[in-house]
Symmetry: C2
C-alpha cells in the first residue's frame, strides 16, 4: 500500500472505529507539534465523520523539557485554572478525547522527577470533572501512536533515522491492522474475539489469580466480588462503541486493592514521564507495595510509587498471551500502548469502574469499599514471560489453569 494511502486509512480508522465520532460531537485532540501533518489528516477525517469542532492541545517534548529544566517546582504544583477548565468543560460537553502519541521515550531524561510527579498530583485535583466523566465511562477516548524520529531510533538504534521510522511505521501498521484490506472490518472482528473470552472469564468469577514465572514472579492477587473483565472496546451509556487503545490485545480487570501477596518482577523496561525504569520489582503484602527496587530509574520509580496511598496498590491486572501479534513482532517499543499488548501486565494506581458490576449506581466511596483502588496515577508495567503460568482459584478453592507457558490454556 502506498504510504499516503496508509496514513489516510489510519486517520479514518481513528475517526470511525477508534473515537467513533458522532454527528455534532466536539473532539479534543492532543498531539505533538512535529506530528502536525498526520494530525491534519485525522482532523479532516473527524470533520468528514461529523465532528462539530475539533480543538487541539499541542505538546512538544523539547519545550516540555525546557520548562521542567527552567521553571520552578511551584509552576508544576498547580494546573493553571484555564487548563483545568478547558478539559473539564470539554468532558461536560460530551467531547471525545483523542491522544496521538509520538513522544521520545527519553524526552525527560535527567529531569528532577519531583516536577512531573507534582504535575500528576496537581492534575488529580484540577481535572476532577474530566476524571469523573472518564471513571463513569461517559466520554469516548482513544490513544494511538505515530513514529517520531527519536522514538524510532530508540527502538531500532542500528538503523538510519529514515529506515528506523519506516520500520516503526510498518510495526504500527501491523499492530493496528492497517495492513488489512478493510481495517474497520478487521477491528469489528477483533471486537468479537474479545467478547468471547470475556464472557468465559466473567462466568468463572475467580476469587483470586496466581501468577508464576521462573524469573521470580510469584504472586496471588484477589479479585473484587462481582467483577467484570474488560477488553477490546468500550461503550458509552448512549451505546457508542469505541476503542480507547489502538492497538489493544489485553483482557483486563481491576483487582481487590487489599489482596495482593507476593513478588512481581518486571519483564520489560517502563518508560515513565520520559524516563526509563529498568530491572525493577515489587513486593506486595495485603495489596500494598512494601518493598521495591530498580536497576535503573529508581528515583523516578520512587516518585511514582509514592504519588499517593493508591499508587502503592494495584489498579489493573491484564492478560496478554505471548502469541499476540504484537508480542510476536518481538519488538520492545518503549511505549506502554504497544508493550502492554505484548505481555501480561499490572498497573499500580487507579482502578476502572467498568470492572465492577453495577458501578454506575455506586458512589466513589462504595466502590472503594468494594476494593477498587483510588489514585491520581495509573501506570502499567509488564511482568508477563514466555513461561508464565496463571491459575484461577474459585472461592471454594477449585483451581483452573488460565495461562500455561505464556498462552491461554
Amino acid at each position: 500500500m502506498e504510504f499516503n494511502e496508509m496514513l489516510k486509512k489510519y486517520a479514518e480508522l481513528i475517526a470511525k472505529s477508534g473515537i467513533n465520532v458522532q454527528k455534532g460531537q466536539e473532539i479534543f485532540l492532543n498531539a505533538q507539534v512535529d506530528n502536525a501533518p498526520f494530525v491534519r489528516l485525522v482532523v479532516e477525517e473527524l470533520y468528514k465523520a461529523g465532528a462539530k469542532v475539533v480543538n487541539i492541545s499541542w505538546g512538544d517534548d523539547r519545550l516540555s523539557k525546557l520548562k521542567y529544566e527552567n521553571a520552578p517546582l511551584e509552576v508544576f504544583e498547580e494546573i493553571p485554572q484555564w487548563e483545568a477548565m478547558q478539559k473539564n468543560q470539554a468532558a461536560e460537553k460530551g467531547a471525545g478525547f483523542v491522544y496521538i502519541e509520538s513522544s521520545d521515550p527519553d524526552a525527560l531524561t535527567g529531569i528532577d522527577p519531583k516536577k512531573p510527579a507534582a504535575r500528576v498530583k496537581a492534575g488529580e485535583k484540577a481535572f476532577t470533572v474530566y476524571r469523573e466523566h472518564m471513571d463513569k465511562g461517559l466520554n469516548t477516548w482513544c490513544i494511538v501512536a505515530t513514529p517520531s524520529p527519536k522514538w524510532a531510533k530508540k527502538i531500532f538504534p542500528d538503523m538510519s533515522e529514515e529506515k528506523a521510522i519506516e520500520s516503526l511505521w510498518k510495526a504500527i501498521c501491523n499492530a493496528v491492522r492497517i495492513d488489512t484490506p478493510d481495517p474497520i472490518k478487521a477491528w469489528d472482528e477483533h471486537r468479537k474475539t474479545f467478547e468471547e473470552k470475556i464472557s468465559i472469564l466473567n462466568k468463572k468469577q475467580f476469587d483470586r489469580l496466581h501468577f508464576e514465572s521462573a524469573n521470580g514472579t510469584n504472586i496471588i492477587i484477589g479479585m473484587i466480588e462481582n467483577h467484570k473483565w474488560a477488553g477490546g472496546g468500550d461503550k458509552t451509556p448512549d451505546g457508542v462503541y469505541y476503542f480507547p487503545n489502538m492497538p489493544t490485545e489485553e483482557i483486563f480487570i481491576s483487582p481487590d486493592k487489599n489482596r495482593a501477596d507476593g513478588r512481581v518482577v518486571s519483564s520489560k523496561p517502563l518508560c515513565y514521564q520520559g524516563t526509563m525504569i529498568e530491572g525493577f520489582e515489587f513486593t506486595f503484602k495485603d495489596g500494598k507495595i512494601i518493598d521495591f527496587s530498580a536497576q535503573k530509574g529508581y528515583e523516578t520509580l520512587k516518585e511514582l510509587v509514592e504519588t499517593d496511598e493508591g499508587s502503592h496498590r494495584l489498579g489493573e491486572v491484564a492478560l496478554v498471551p505471548v502469541k499476540s501479534p504484537i508480542s510476536e513482532m518481538g519488538i520492545l517499543f518503549y511505549n506502554t500502548l504497544f508493550d502492554e499488548n505484548a505481555a501480561c501486565h499490572l498497573a499500580i494506581g487507579r482502578g476502572f469502574n467498568e470492572c465492577v458490576e453495577g458501578a454506575e449506581n455506586m458512589s466513589k466511596e462504595d466502590l472503594e469499599k468494594r476494593g477498587l483502588n483510588v489514585s491520581a496515577t495509573h501506570v502499567d508495567f509488564m511482568f508477563g514471560t514466555a513461561d508464565m503460568k496463571i491459575t484461577g482459584i474459585e472461592k471454594d478453592g477449585k483451581e483452573s489453569v488460565i495461562f500455561q507457558n505464556g498462552n491461554w490454556a
Copy 2:
C-alpha cells in the same frame, strides 16, 4: 553569517530587545506548529534571560481553515471561556506576549468571512482584561515573523521554494537588523532616532494633517488635543522598554475619530484574516467611512468595515518615508508587520491610549470624548506613495510641510 548563528541571534534579540523579558516574568508565546524549531530557540533564550515560565499557544493555518470550513458559525461567535481566561489571567500576572508570525497570506482564501469576523467580535467581549492591560500599556508584547514556505512563495513566486525561503530570511534579517555585528546595540540606536523625530512633532501639536497623492488620495485628518506621537519602542509603567513590532520604522498617532474628510486610495494590497484585499479606497466624512470599494476582496473588506461603529473610523495615522530600509528593498511582503513599515498608513478601528497625553488618568469614556476611537478591531492599510505630500496645519492655520515626495521634508 552562518544560518544557525543568525537564528540564535534573532531569538536572543526577541528575548532581550523585543519583549525584554524580566527576571521571574511569565511569557505567553503564540506561534505556528510548523515553526517549532525556531520557537524552541526563542524559548531557550527567554529562559536564559530570566523567564519564570513560557507557555505556548500553538496555531496551524491548515487546521484553522478546516475549522472555518466545517464548524458552524456559532462556534466562532463565542470564545471558549478557558481561552479567555488563559489570556486574561496571563495579562493579570504581568505576562509578556510574544507573537511569532509565519502564516500563509492566503491561508483562509475562500472562507466565509462572517466566521473570522464573528471571532474578532467575540474576542472583544472575551479578552476584556487582556485588552484593558494592553490599552493601558501594562504588559510588554512583541510581534516578529519568520518565513513559512507558502508565505515565501507568495512573495517570490518565480523562485524555487528553497530559494524563496532563503530570500525571505535575508529580507527579514535585513529588516530586523540581524545582519549587523551587534543587533541589540543597533536597536538601541534605532530607538534614539525615533525619539528625536517624535520630540519635534510633539512640540508642533498640529491641529490637522493634509495628505495628497497623485493616485487620488486627498484627505484632511484632525488630531486630538494634547496628542503624543509614538514609535520605536514603548515603556511599561515600571519602565521596561520593549519593541512591540520588529521591524518597526513608523511614527504614529491616533487621530480624532470625528475629523477626517476626503478620499484615501490604498497603495498596497491588504492581507486580512488570510484573504487578500486589493485596489481599495475609502471616502470619509466627519471621521466616518461613508463609501468604500475594492477591486478584490470586497466582501472581506465589508466584514472588516462593518465590525462595529468604531471600524468605520480611524485609529491610527502612521508616517513612514519611502526612504525607509524596508521600503527600499522594494518587496511587497503581503504582511502588515513589514508592509506597514514601507509606506505611510492608516488603521481603521481602535486607537491607542498612549497617543493621548495623560491617558493613564482618564477613563475609557473620557478618552472617547477626547476623540480616541473605540473598536473590536484595528487593521492597518497602506496608502503612502512616492509622491505623497503631507502638510501639518496648526490651530491658527499656519502650515508646515512634513513630507515632500514621500520623505521627511
